[in-house]
């Protein structure tokens, strides 16, 4: 079966290839082009999300002063460059929503999942190429709807990215933000539909279209991570789609699912949101981990330590992620007896994660490590994620969360889980697979400079915020100077201060220009990339850079595990999955 299906798909692609520029670059059904389109959407939306972060940070450091560069924006979004309180709440909301749903998912699942998954399992394309095109176009539409909400009367959604009802359920509570929040809901539902289509494709492709010899236990870890992420997303998103429809009903049709004064319930939204929201964290985290797990063996020239153990640990973490959601709700007013069981399951997640992290660490030990740019970003991902993981224990302890909840400690914690995976992990993947995706080589010294600037400025932003949070600083506060308790955090201490954090954030954002310069320069004048510049084993390196339509000139046969580096008895320190002979094959 896996022999026939690819053959048909390959034929379909040859005809598609014969089309015009529009057919091959815009309305393309080729998973590689679609992957790049996802990357484009993700990076474009990251610019918007980053700009919003700058506005938020400026207001926190120097409240009520004009933001440089925004004097021209008309009222009421800005007042001569000053961010008003209504806009501040909107910027915080949109920053979170855009970064999670329109940057993290498009880049990690959309771009890397689409581009790599079919090649890595030896398939000529996704199982359903047209559905794949529909998924990226649906995401494009969702992005436009989300961005359009900036231009409607009273501005975009301002009820937080978590959209807690009843604040989000009735426009009078948010100073008459009506269409802004309606469009926010519609855009999110479109986004969910897009990634559901993507998830169907990922699953079907990996299960049905693997090349001969590519058993499940020979799939690269990134493929496993994408699969577990797709399953988590598909199982968890249903309740949230229902909740989003109910919220839209409350706002537009006069229903009252979440409005207590008319018989609704204020906590229902939170249960449905976080039942999705926690698995969603792993939907984002796992593909980032997958990228790191692909890169480490290549640059340590070692097999991945405990490949099967990591797969089982990932599945366990995914299963556990469905029974921890109430840790977002310890102080929300749930029955207090519910907190302790959820506290136990939450802290229990440290077990599969310590297995995954332990296996990554033992992949490094005894290696022959080369600190190329992708490896620097991969190590940076692991090192910073550890901070996010460890601080999760503090928040998972329900009694301590009573103090920590909704403070900057939480803000710092989740940025330390998501930023490593999405930005550092995403950049690791981009530097690693760029030659394969675009057939050009990126500049190595510029890449290293980009890493060190990003790494240091990220830590300079978020380590101080842990201490700001410990000092009792609430999240989503337009003007911290309103509280005597928070006054010393403005600029009294050299590092733990809003002023320092904002300066570091500006360095972090500006540093990303290095990436853009590197990418543009490389696309215009970079060296043509070799097929396998890193001497890596997995299938994507067994074809040309970039791969042709149908991915492989002839369908590959797979003979062994994906990470056979430095096998005993071999002179070379690598042994591709496609190499037929060698004693090391099991």
């Amino acid at each position: 079966m896996s022999v026939h299906a690819p053959a048909h798909a390959a034929v379909a692609h040859e005809t598609a290839h014969a089309g015009s520029f529009w057919r091959s670059h815009v309305f393309s059904v080729d998973h590689k082009t679609i992957g790049k389109q996802y990357l484009g959407i993700g990076i474009g939306m990251a610019l918007v999300g980053g700009l919003l972060a700058y506005l938020i940070r400026w207001q926190l450091a120097w409240p009520g002063t004009p933001v440089p560069g925004f004097g021209w924006v008309p009222e009421p979004m800005f007042y001569e460059g000053i961010v008003p309180e209504t806009s501040y709440n909107a910027f915080v909301t949109m920053h979170g929503t855009i970064m999670v749903f329109f940057v993290a998912m498009p880049i990690l699942l959309g771009a890397f999942g689409n581009f790599l998954l079919p090649i890595m399992v030896g398939a000529p394309d996704m199982a359903f190429p047209r559905l794949n095109m529909m998924s990226v176009w649906t995401l494009g539409l969702a992005s436009l709807v989300m961005l359009s909400s900036f231009f409607v009367e009273n501005g975009p959604a301002s009820a937080g990215w978590t959209g807690y009802a009843p604040l989000s359920a009735d426009a009078t509570y948010t100073a008459d933000v009506y269409w802004g929040l309606n469009l926010w809901i519609i855009a999110l539902m479109l986004e969910f539909a897009s990634f559901l289509m993507g998830g169907v494709n990922f699953l079907t492709t990996a299960i049905n279209m693997r090349a001969p010899g590519m058993t499940l236990w020979r799939m690269p870890l990134l493929v496993w991570m994408q699969l577990v992420a797709a399953v988590l997303f598909m199982l968890s998103v249903g309740p949230l789609v229902a909740a989003a429809l109910m919220l839209l009903g409350d706002r537009t049709l006069g229903t009252a699912f979440f409005l207590p004064e008319r018989g609704g319930d204020a906590l229902l939204w939170q249960h449905l949101f976080w039942f999705f929201g926690h698995p969603e964290v792993y939907v984002i985290l796992l593909p980032g981990f997958g990228i790191v797990m692909e890169i480490m063996p290549v640059f340590a020239r070692k097999p991945f330590f405990g490949y099967r153990t990591v797969v089982w640990a990932t599945i366990a973490a995914g299963a556990l992620s469905f029974v921890v959601w109430a840790h977002h709700m310890f102080v929300s007013g749930i029955d207090p007896r519910l907190a302790n069981p959820f506290s136990v399951t939450t802290i229990l997640i440290s077990v599969p994660f310590s297995v995954m992290v332990g296996c990554m660490l033992l992949t490094l030990v005894g290696g022959s490590i080369e600190l190329a740019t992708p490896m620097l970003f991969a190590l940076g991902t692991l090192g910073t994620f550890l901070i996010g993981g460890v601080t999760g224990i503090y928040l998972g302890a329900a009694a301590l969360d009573m103090y920590m909840h909704d403070t900057y400690f939480v803000v710092a914690h989740f940025h330390y889980t998501l930023f490593p995976s999405v930005i550092l992990g995403g950049l690791a993947g981009l530097y690693f697979w760029f030659p394969k995706m675009f057939g050009r080589t990126l500049n190595e010294p510029l890449g290293k400079l980009h890493f060190w600037l990003t790494f240091f400025s990220f830590n300079a932003v978020f380590i101080p915020l842990f201490f700001v949070g410990l000092a009792g600083h609430m999240r989503r506060l337009y003007d911290p100077t309103q509280y005597d308790l928070l006054e010393p955090l403005m600029d009294t201490f050299p590092f733990v201060s809003h002023a320092f954090v904002t300066k570091a954030a500006i360095v972090l954002i500006v540093s990303q220009v290095l990436l853009l310069v590197n990418v543009v320069w490389s696309l215009l004048a970079g060296e043509h990339a070799a097929d396998n510049p890193w001497k890596a084993n997995t299938l994507e390196w067994a074809t040309s850079s970039p791969p042709p339509h149908g991915n492989f000139a002839t369908l590959p046969n797979v003979y062994r595990d994906p990470y056979e580096y430095t096998p005993p008895g071999s002179k070379d320190d690598w042994l591709p999955q496609t190499a037929p002979a060698a004693g090391a094959a099991r």
Binding site: E85, T86, N89, A159, Y164, P166, L167, Y173, A175, P260, A266, L267, A300, R301, K302, P303, F305, G306, Y307, R308, T309, V331, G333, P336, N340, S343, V344, I347, L348, V351, S354, V355, G358, L364, V365, S368, I369, L371, G383, L386, V390, I393, Y394, A398, A399, L400, M402, Y403, D406, L470, G472, M474, R476, L477, P480, Y483, L485, Y565, T566, D573
Partner: protein, 239 residues
């Protein structure tokens, strides 16, 4: 790290700070160990001529023991933290002490109303008194509060007491604290509740026993003068 927390003034705040210290001590060595392995590998396992990486697949129980034994220890430590947290949580959240000073707190966009039962100790009578954004309590006494919201979700946060509890429309949520130190402390709203969320500040004023009596006399002068006349039963006795 503990020094960054604001001064604790409540009885149970000590337990919460203790839990924080426990987690610092349990997790920091593991954190340093893991970062140390990364650093060590990068420094001492760098690629150089003639170096050959170990062929270590981690697919035998003997090799996996390097992962599974530490994981088993982590599991044990997890339960230590869980147990300590569960006890502290149950003490604070799962029972409300009897015979305490009672106050009703109503949150609304964008301020706090504190309703005192007055000298008769009962709500819904003539001597009830509402104060905006000021909560007066006696030092060293259990204070029981009932939280209600008129509109959206707010969160009742007193950093110095280590107390945070969301306030839900449509529900009444009871809780308690016991402040051990006199003074004036800030109360904040910790849940985004609308455009002026950041201005939703109130004060907790913790009085000595004498000061608290003076404050009651000032707020309920009739009751105080009635109590002063010999032979006249006080409001409390009548009830």
């Amino acid at each position: 790290m503990l020094s960054w927390l604001p001064e604790n003034i409540s009885t149970y705040g000590r337990d919460i700070d203790g839990l924080f210290a426990l987690i610092v001590w349990v997790t920091t060595p593991w954190f340093l160990l893991m970062q140390g392995i990364i650093l060590w590998s990068v420094l001492f396992n760098r690629r150089r001529v003639g170096r050959r990486a170990w062929y270590l697949r981690g697919d035998t129980w003997g090799q996996l023991a390097w992962i599974l034994v530490p994981t088993a220890i982590i599991l044990g430590l997890d339960f230590l933290i869980d147990a300590r947290s569960a006890l502290v949580w149950a003490h604070i959240k799962q029972r409300v002490p009897a015979g305490a000073t009672e106050v009703r707190v109503t949150a609304k966009q964008f301020n706090w109303e504190f309703l005192y039962p007055g000298p008769d100790g009962r709500f819904g009578t003539d001597d009830d008194l509402t104060l905006d954004n000021e909560l007066h309590v006696p030092v060293g006494q259990n204070v029981v509060f009932t939280l209600q919201s008129k509109d959206v979700i707010h969160s009742f946060f007193i950093p110095n007491v280590r107390l945070k509890q969301d306030v839900l429309p449509g529900r009444s949520i009871r809780g308690w604290f016991n402040a051990e130190k006199t003074g004036r402390y800030e109360i904040a709203c910790a849940e985004l509740c609308g455009i002026s969320h950041y201005t939703m500040r109130a004060f907790l004023v913790v009085h000595t026993a004498d000061e608290y009596r003076d404050w009651i006399e000032e707020k309920w002068p009739q009751a105080a003068s009635a109590a002063a006349e010999p032979g006249t039963p006080t409001a409390t006795e009548l009830s």
